[in-house]
Amino acid sequence: MSAAEPLLRVEDLRVEFPSEDGIVHAVDGITYQVQKGRTLGIVGESGSGKTVSSLTTLGLTRREGARISGRILFEGQDLVTLPEEQLRAIRGNDIAMIFQDPLSSLHPLYRVGAQLVEAVRAHREVSKAQARARAIELLGLVGIPDPARRVDEYPHEFSGGMRQRAMIAMALMNDPKLLIADEPTTALDVTVQAQILALMERLQRELGMAIVIITHDLGVVAEVADDIAVMYAGRIVETSSTGQLFAAPEHPYTWGLLKSIPRLDGPREEELVPIPGTPPSLINRPSGCHFHPRCPYAQPDHARIDPLLAPVPGAPNHHVACLLEAEVRERLWAELAAGATPEQALAEVGVPGAPA
């Protein structure tokens, strides 16, 4: 494996679920990669396919009758075609995952320690005592006080933040090379969220693993991610480094996400602008650009033409799937960044607005 080969490379991944109402196109041809020791943030609304894509990485959508195509290359091995038994050897071992709700993700009837111990013993021939020592070590590492005592407690005796710490400890039991964190802070109090994010950053520095963090919260990825992929309706609509994305976002959906979160450094009178409408159905998706029904800047032909993810001129690592001219996008964002509403920006830039 060459030095440039990423740890995880997902190529044109598609995941479809046949349902009674039709085929659910949960993930529709996404491509991304994660380098060793780096953090990728996948951002999107619920139903954008971000969770399904990561569950598929671990082979956890297979038994739900998903139709999967494309490639998921982990250290050169294609996880899409890997036999279940070999994939199981990777799950929780080289690739570990933590989930949104730590209370429901821990088994209520087993001691926390036992749940950590079985994570090791599923992959390694170690004695119970060794595994238990490892569990206590990791509970301590993730900041649980008095781990030698708490290892024998049940999940309901832990606070929300401690449960997520325990989940992280469980994920780290086998020194994974990649940690997938699906909305790891969503179910937690704001103060605890910050602690968990800080913990993940510290652990990444100390252990050198790569992280894929899935969230709907741009604030979370701004804090921890090196690169960001924005997903909409099963596709990646924009991807770049974190700094670039926040400095010069290109996709109207990303603008919408940015304008719908409050900023401390913006003018006080600046109003929050929510993205109109609701996420589309993944069975009957909008024609053309899937975002066009909710896009304030959509042109009539955007309902016909399907945009491709293409590099932004002058920024080779920044990709966007948008039909607007690059120069128009630049001027629109300049107006929006200065505090204009989408309508004002449209008038200022002089492109005709979306048909009402």
Partner: protein
């Protein structure tokens, strides 16, 4: 925990007294023949009846009779004497208890093991032919009464009157101590009949309970950890078992009720048949004794279930 158990046992005793009272009232209110007349023989003199009434204590007021009865039962474990045979009810029951225990314990094992394994297989192979077949038969077994199922089996498989002479028929019961093999073969059909309904309910409940559990987030976590599927299922079963345990306490009562019918159909000399016979002949002390015994088993089973709960679910704690 000890205090909880003691408290539950004391409540259980109170419950038994209430049950005794209910049965007592029921049999005095219902129009049955005067027990004294039953024992007096053909064309009795009124004087003789009066004498017998005095011997049986029937001349006293009802509350006094009840009080005397309770004192005997709870202080001396004396359940009274049969109106017919004069035998002590306690020894009548003790004599027949081994047969009933053989029947009910064997049926309980079959019920729990059969019900759970069918339910687990059905939950893991949902909508398969196996699942549909098992759930369809379960519905049939829940619906048919024991006496009907028992008679059908006898007509089909009994070695005397059956179409296919496979199992020993009615009246073939032998105590375990006499001949273990004959004991076993004679009980195969009764066990099946008695266990069928409860096992079917267990199978259906286990199926839905496990299906739900397998959708839980912690099962996804278990898979994400890379546990073998067997271990994943074990965690699902562990979570699914709790509602089943509750049902066990309730179904013990159904099982004991069923024992009356099954013992009668298969002519097994147990407490159930004793109850059936004494109901037919208005032998009140014997009925009272069997009802109290059954109530005691049901109350104990439910205490055991509640205590087991504390061990099965760490979130449940009694004080």
């Amino acid at each position: 925990m000890i205090r909880y158990i003691i408290r539950r046992l004391l409540w259980g005793v109170l419950l038994l007294i209430i049950v005794a009272g209910l049965v007592f009232v029921l049999f005095r209110v219902l129009p049955t023949t005067n027990p004294a007349v039953l024992r007096a023989g053909r064309d009795p003199q009124p004087k003789l009846i009066k004498e017998i009434e005095v011997v049986l204590g029937l001349n006293k007021s009802l509350p006094t009779q009840f009080w005397d009865y309770l004192k005997e039962v709870f202080l001396h474990f004396n359940l009274g004497y049969s109106y017919y045979s004069q035998e002590s009810v306690r020894s009548l029951i003790v004599e027949r208890l081994p047969a009933t225990l053989s029947l009910t314990l064997g049926a309980a094992v079959l019920w729990v093991l059969g019900g759970l394994s069918v339910g687990i297989i059905s939950a893991l192979r949902r909508h398969s032919l196996l699942d549909r077949g098992a759930m369809g038969s379960a519905l049939v077994l829940i619906s048919v009464p024991e006496f009907w199922l028992g008679l059908v089996l006898l007509f089909l498989f009994a070695s005397d009157i059956g179409k296919f002479k496979i199992f020993p028929g009615a009246g073939s019961y032998v105590p375990l101590t006499t001949d273990p093999w004959k004991w076993f073969t004679s009980l195969i059909m009764p066990w099946f009949v008695l266990a069928a309904g409860s096992a079917a309910i267990f199978a259906r409940l286990m199926r839905s309970s496990l299906s739900e559990a397998m959708k839980e987030d912690y099962i996804r976590t278990a898979r994400a950890k890379g546990l073998p599927e067997k271990a994943v299922v074990r965690q699902g079963v562990r979570a699914a078992i709790n509602p089943i345990v509750t049902l066990f306490g309730l179904e013990v009562g159904v099982l004991l009720g069923g024992a009356i019918l099954v013992e009668t159909v298969f002519n097994i000399p147990g407490v159930g048949r004793l109850a059936y016979q004494s109901i037919q002949s208005s032998d009140f002390p014997v009925v009272q004794g069997t009802v109290l015994l059954a109530s005691m088993f049901i109350i104990l089973a439910n205490i055991v279930v509640d205590v087991a709960y504390a061990y099965l679910d760490p979130r449940v704690r009694y004080s």
